[in-house]
Symmetry: C2
Subunit: 110 residues, 2 copies
């Protein structure tokens, strides 16, 4: 697990990225982020829900209430066109950070 101080700011990118492959609800997002990073990146639901509300307020994601066949109520989020457009510049900024830290601090990427 990566320490909280270091992973700060990654949650937004992580959420937008997992939503790129299709709509998801919060609980499942957390599961996929952990799975796809082999446990390196892990977020509590208490972090993700407020983040999703912020992203929805900005118009980058949209959530709709769903009632599954079993009767369980959950909120399904999907990327909006505006959110899709934001992903490229956000990735570019992270790339720039990686390059900067490679030069400055000799952090390897391998």
């Amino acid at each position: 697990m990566i320490a909280p101080g270091i992973k700060r700011g990654t949650a937004e990118l992580a959420v937008l990225s997992v939503l790129e492959d299709g709509p998801l609800h919060g609980y499942e997002m957390a599961r996929r982020i952990e799975e796809q990073t082999h446990g390196s990146l892990r977020f509590t639901l208490a972090s993700l829900y407020p983040l999703l509300y912020r992203l929805e307020k900005r118009g980058w994601v949209r959530g709709v209430w769903e009632t599954s066949g079993t009767g369980r109520r959950r909120r399904c989020y999907r990327l909006t066109p505006a959110g899709k457009k934001k992903l490229a510049p956000i990735r570019a900024e992270w790339s720039e950070l990686f390059r900067a830290l490679k030069r400055l601090a000799k952090v390897s990427h391998a």
Copy 2:
């Protein structure tokens, strides 16, 4: 310039890294971080001074007051042996973050 939300947590690594090449005072650290990242990473002195106090309290750096020939007083910081030992694991954690975001969010490192 990388947005504040994304660069969070990088200041500690940046400071320890520039100090690896020799003792420096705060003002000069800020200048070198900006220079060596070609302006991608830039910190205000109001961020760096409290960070240096924290690092000193942890025993990772040690600062001594200097009075230059011209009479200017400034605090010169150097890495302690403990600080030197911390650099490798911190770099490893950043590397792990890079790998995780490459897999999860397709952030390139080139």
